[in-house]
């Protein structure tokens, strides 16, 4: 039982990271109908920005704000440089452009900052607390807390605010949204900014656990992408549930079946969903509307 509790905590912690990145995938997919394969690199860039800001002598909270502002700016540049020029093309050139952007971001950071993995201290001085038989890593606690807050925020933002409803309308039907006076390009811009900030947030939160390296984004993004499909592509709640499920499944699979095949469990679940429930846990909203 002690073992299961420890695994559950860790699984939820790592799953929350997948969920945050998956959320970025979903938001951009809903707004533009394309998958942004540079979403993982957003996490990596934000973690490096954080390291640079901390090394520059900024207090941790200020470095955090600077890093997130940097990500917002990256979201703008990404929208204008990668999506906007191709917005009238089919989804394929846009997807290829996001893959290209992902490679560009990774290699740009490599060229600027070098290949050395970096250590980023966590928010708290204490590494964790022992709660009975379970050790609670303070960084994982923070990640879980932030994920819960974001779930609540997303619900409020998309369901209760005018801007959120405009974003939803844009994602559901751009032409009708445009006829209703909504600036579609502005809404898409906001989506890219929010997704970049979300991806960045995931990167900054996970950096003290996984270290800051060029590869950190792609490793997380692969799992987050799987989580998105499991949850139901296009569904915000699905991304959260998919991410958390994936984290828990792979952690328990590693502990009780096989450690070397840990990644295999995640993708086994993905394949099972693609065969038996391709629309994911929460289905696909576009299909429901049709």
């Amino acid at each position: 039982m002690d073992l299961a509790l420890q695994l559950l905590f860790t699984g939820i912690g790592i799953g929350a990271v997948y969920a945050l990145v998956a959320l970025g995938f979903v938001l951009i997919f809903r707004a533009t109908n394309v998958v942004n394969f540079a979403q993982g690199e957003f996490s990596m860039v934000a973690a490096y920005l954080m390291v640079v800001a901390v090394e520059a002598g900024l207090p941790y909270w200020a470095a955090f704000i600077v890093a997130l502002l940097g990500m917002a700016l990256l979201g703008v540049v990404f929208n204008l440089g990668v999506y906007y020029p191709l917005r009238h093309r089919t989804y394929l050139p846009v997807i290829i452009a996001t893959i290209g952007a992902s490679i560009l971001l990774a290699n740009s950071v490599l060229a600027i900052y070098g290949p050395q993995p970096q250590v980023l201290q966590g928010w708290f001085d204490t590494p964790g607390i022992q709660l009975g038989p379970v050790y609670l890593d303070s960084q994982y606690l923070l990640i879980i807390g932030v994920t819960i807050c974001l779930v609540i925020f997303n619900f409020w933002f998309f369901e209760k605010t005018l801007l959120g409803k405009k974003l939803q309308a844009t994602s559901q039907d751009k032409e009708i949204a445009s006829l209703l006076g909504i600036s579609v390009s502005t809404m898409i811009m906001i989506t890219f900014i929010y997704s970049a900030v979300l991806g960045g947030l995931a990167g900054i939160l996970v950096a003290p656990v996984l270290f800051v390296s060029i590869q950190m984004g792609s490793t997380i993004a692969l799992k987050a992408f799987a989580a998105t499909i499991i949850g139901g592509f296009g569904d915000v709640a699905g991304a959260i549930i998919g991410g958390l499920s994936l984290g828990v499944i792979e952690t328990f699979g590693a502990a009780y079946i096989s450690v070397p095949y840990k990644d295999g469990f995640a993708f086994l679940v993905l394949v099972a969903f693609l065969i038996f429930r391709p629309q994911g846990i929460f289905g696909e909203r576009v299909a429901e509307k049709a």
Binding site: G114, V119, Y135, F211, A255, V259
Partner: protein, 381 residues
């Protein structure tokens, strides 16, 4: 002037032969080229940078001392991207340059396995740092190892843990790539021979984000000592932190990655009081000390095995070509195999007929972040 048929034939022959003669003359007058596959990008890019610096330092010294066969030597580096497809591409690019006389392969066994068929086809000497014992025992006569192989590291880890530390309940943890699998197997075999078969033999996949299941497995096994073979330092760093956080404080004797610079930086205090087998230990010999000084002066960081093996590889290859008196691959091979009592940064090289130059390891301890040499264990079999 009348052009005879004989004059015409001679002219044609001269015309055909001229480019080859010019090229040959140019080659004879040019530098001696050595190719190197190194991870300039990818997860091992940092250690790859150290490897290139080690090789360049050796080359500078060789050139100052008169070069190779009286010519200046030149290093041609190709990025192996820290991947198997990457090194195959990098090696094929280098192999296409016919004037490269010898090569430095990878420190990663899995990458050496990847290029091994191409090395056989090319038939030129390739110095390697990969420590999977099979590499020099699978019929490839062109691979020459400048680090001790894992049959030695496994034996040294086992010997030190059982005899010196007095521990018999071992957990063996290793990556599931060629390096980790071979290392884990060598350690398990050595422990079994010493009458202490491991209570846990656990593999893990590279680039894991979480080691909680592994740490809990070690905890549950009741092991009183841990032996490990980690391929990547970031994996080692994550594991070390989680191991300590989850309250496992048993002695830990690891493969060389446990004492390299990147691992020490990432894991910090989580690696204090651990032991490592190290092919390079600064205080282990005069050659090691000399390299340490040169490296610190030039690179401004502490030396480790990432740079010491390439330093030695260039020196061994250069010495062998000079000894052979030729760039003929077969002659260089014979010259490498005849090298005995050659003082290098990693230790004293005595090449055997398999192509292994070193036959022992150092044991070092992480004393609050400082790597302290304990003892050298050499095998003669």
């Amino acid at each position: 002037m009348r052009l005879t048929r004989r004059d015409f034939a001679a002219g044609i022959a001269a015309g055909i032969a001229a480019p080859y003669l010019i090229k040959s003359a140019h080659a004879q007058g040019a530098t001696i080229k050595i190719g190197m596959c190194a991870p300039v990008t990818g997860p091992a890019a940092e250690s790859g940078g150290y490897a290139i610096k080690g090789a360049k330092l050796a080359l500078e010294a060789v050139n100052k001392a008169g070069g190779i066969l009286g010519k200046q030597a030149e290093l041609i580096v190709e990025d192996d991207q820290t991947t198997n497809p990457g090194i195959v591409l990098a090696f094929s690019k280098l192999a296409a340059q016919s004037d490269i006389v010898g090569f430095l392969g990878s420190i990663r066994s899995t990458q050496v396995h990847a290029i091994s068929p191409d090395v056989i086809k090319l038939g030129k000497p390739v110095m390697i740092g990969g420590t999977d014992p099979n590499l020099t025992h699978m019929g490839n006569q062109w691979l020459f190892r400048c680090r001790p192989n894992d049959s030695y590291s496994g034996r040294v880890i086992a010997e030190y843990g059982v005899s010196t530390l007095g521990k018999k309940k071992w957990a063996v943890l290793h990556s599931t790539d060629a390096f980790g699998t071979a290392g884990g197997k060598a350690l398990t075999e050595a422990l079994t021979k010493l009458g202490a078969p491991p209570v846990l033999d656990q593999g893990y996949a590279n680039q894991s984000q979480d080691f909680t299941p592994v740490v809990l497995a070690i905890k549950q096994s009741g092991a009183d000592i841990l032996g490990s073979y980690f391929t990547f330092e970031n994996d080692l760093g994550i594991f070390a932190r989680q191991l300590r956080q989850l309250g496992v404080n048993i002695p830990w004797v690891g493969s060389p990655s446990i004492v390299n610079i990147t691992a020490l930086k990432l894991a910090g205090p989580a690696l204090y009081n651990t032991y490592g087998v190290a092919d390079y230990a600064e205080d282990s010999s005069e050659g090691s000390k000399a390299f340490g000084k040169i490296y610190r002066d030039a690179v401004k960081v502490a030396p480790d095995n990432q740079s010491s093996w390439t330093f030695d590889a260039i020196n061994v290859l250069s010495a062998a070509i000079n000894k052979a008196g030729s760039t003929d691959a077969a002659k260089i091979r014979e010259a490498i195999l005849s090298i005995k009592k050659f003082a290098g940064a990693e230790g004293e090289y005595n090449f055997d007929q398999n192509g292994d130059g070193l036959h022992g390891y150092n044991i070092v301890k992480n004393d609050k972040g400082n790597i302290v040499f304990d003892k050298h264990i050499e095998f003669n079999d």
